[in-house]
Amino acid sequence: MTTPTATTAAAATPGFSLRARLFRPATRQKLLAFASLIALMVFFSFASPQFLQTDNLVSILQSTAVNGVLAIACTFVIITAGIDLSVGTLMTFCAVMAGVVLTYMGMPLALGITAAIFFGALAGFVSGVLIAKLKIPPFIATLGMMMLLKGLSLVISGTKPIYFNDTPGFTAISQDSLIGDLVPSLPIPNAVLILFLVAVAASILLNRTILGRYTFALGSNEEAVRLSGVNTNFWKVVVYTVSGGICGIAGLLIASRLNSAQPALGQGYELDAIAAVVIGGTSLSGGTGTIVGTIIGAFIMSVLTNGLRILSVAQEWQTVITGVIIILAVYADILRRRSSNKH
């Protein structure tokens, strides 16, 4: 039998009683997935008095936003058994396009936001077509797109950052705090709010809609889906398009945080995003995955990075430790699933 996995689409379908749901293997696994995160946080809290301070927690949240949104975009693609190496440079491309619309063309904010998401979706669409229609392996199609988009961002921006100084309210997207305005003791930046909104929307999309169903189905057995009369190519293109659109949101978040579109940034971000997805229990071989897991994965990454910095660990050792922890976190997830399958 193929390796049994607990976090399946099926197991993620809504059940009937809360109790029953809590004790399903899938749920138990998700709860346990918090374990690595909690373990890290407990460790850092003891190791450094600064770690648990509100300011620092807020900055962890803030620093999770971009990677979290990119990881959500990746989750869709990875569940189809694909991969997307272009998310980082695509994010930048979207930021640049927002800059073109807002700063170069002086359009209103709403149009800039639309442009970022639109161009993200467009690029995702292109990747999707390359993969679904031309049958180019996702790794290569998105590697090509990664370079293409990186180059285009530089070309379009004239290799210079585009600043958003003339668009009032642009930095608010990421930096202000609607929640903090309501509850002053919770100065959670909007970027984090947006991350959670995207997560909720993505979760609904994945678990309740046709798109989500086909996303899992494609990753589970594409040929079977095709033989069932589903236009698999079409749906694959849709998945990459949606994923691209989500990268557009990440582009807005980072641009708003930096008050600028930095055209050279982006490469390397895809690995962080993919790591978050896999740490969160989504399998690279497709068919399984959850958004909650991805968010936990993204937090594990940013807590780790932040904690090591707070502890003033030498930077080269930070790299070593991060490498080891990524492997351990995924291993913990594998052990957890193995045991939750034994009951």
């Binding site: 600064q50 620092n56 900055s59 803030q62 530089l154 290799t159 100084n165 930095q262 050279a264 390397g268």
Partner: protein
């Protein structure tokens, strides 16, 4: 409170380059001399503006007495700098400035002026005419842009007979810079000089020229120091190079930060200077002091 050690984190533009390691060593020297604690970190590439912001924000969370900061993007960090200001943490800018009056002082090299000096030297060595190319480390970072533009502008304004045939970017990666140099040489058989805008680029240029067996026929001007660059100058394969004073920059940054903590008045800019060095003055103690291995 008094017994607690003064802590000053330095958030830099990078950490793997020898240049930044030299800044780090200067800062550590100052820390020893002034009995304070410093840490030094910077993102992997000079493109990762947001990673640097995260570092700055983690540095602030550590409630330091002062911060040293070399901004990758002069505007992006302003909200955090405001936070530092509100928390009464003095910020000392180093390497390049920030578009803001928050930093209490800036210890810096004028990269544009330094690159212009490199252009003058190049012109002199090739007889003020002929083809010249640039191998730069980065297309978007401040130092890359300033050095490229400082060089190009001086050539354009002062040396009408010098033609810039190519400007290419190798990410400071020695191997890539080597390959780039070789293709530039291939494409321009009459090339007279190449400027390598940082250590990795300059070494790449030296390697490339050597591999194409054009040594002696192409004037190479470098930037920064490091063992290989010093050797190249000593054996004549490189005509000379600009060096900044990274150790001094690191030292001054910490020194200024300590002064700021003590409430002393500081100059707006501390110019740590740059120097031309070649075979003739490389052993001069004043120059040797600002070079690093």
């Amino acid at each position: 409170q008094q017994a607690q050690e003064i802590y000053i984190p330095l958030v830099s533009k990078g950490f793997q380059h020898q240049f930044w390691q030299a800044v780090k060593s200067g800062a550590e020297q100052a820390a020893k001399d002034l009995k304070v604690k410093v840490t030094f970190e910077g993102p992997e590439t000079e493109a990762m503006v947001d990673k640097q912001i995260d570092m700055l924000s983690a540095a602030l969370a550590k409630k330091p007495q002062a911060i040293g900061f070399a901004a990758l993007d002069s505007q992006a960090a302003i909200p955090l700098l405001k936070k530092a200001q509100a928390a009464k943490i003095p910020v000392v800018a180093f390497d390049s400035g920030v578009d803001s009056d928050i930093p209490v002082t800036t210890t810096t090299t004028d990269n544009k002026a330094a690159a212009a000096l490199a252009a003058d030297k190049m012109a002199e060595l090739i007889g003020k005419s002929g083809e010249v190319a640039l191998v730069v480390h980065d297309q978007t970072s401040r130092t890359g842009v300033d050095r490229r533009d400082g060089f190009l502008n001086r050539i354009k304004s002062t040396y009408p007979n010098i033609k810039i045939v190519s400007v290419q970017y190798g990410g400071g990666d020695q191997l890539k810079s080597t390959e780039i140099t070789k293709s530039i040489l291939q494409a321009s058989p009459n090339l007279k000089g190449i400027f390598g805008a940082n250590e990795g680029s300059a070494i790449g240029v030296v390697n490339g020229v050597k591999e194409m067996k054009r040594n002696g026929k192409v004037v190479i001007i470098g930037y920064d120091s490091g063992k290989q660059q010093k050797n190249a100058i000593a054996d004549g394969s490189m005509a000379g190079a600009i060096t900044q004073n990274p150790v001094g920059m690191g030292y001054k940054t910490v020194e200024m930060a300590v002064k700021a903590i003590k409430g002393e008045k500081l100059p707006k800019v501390v110019d740590t200077g740059f120097f031309w060095y070649d075979k003739t003055n490389i052993t001069d103690p004043k120059i040797a002091a600002v070079l690093y291995d």
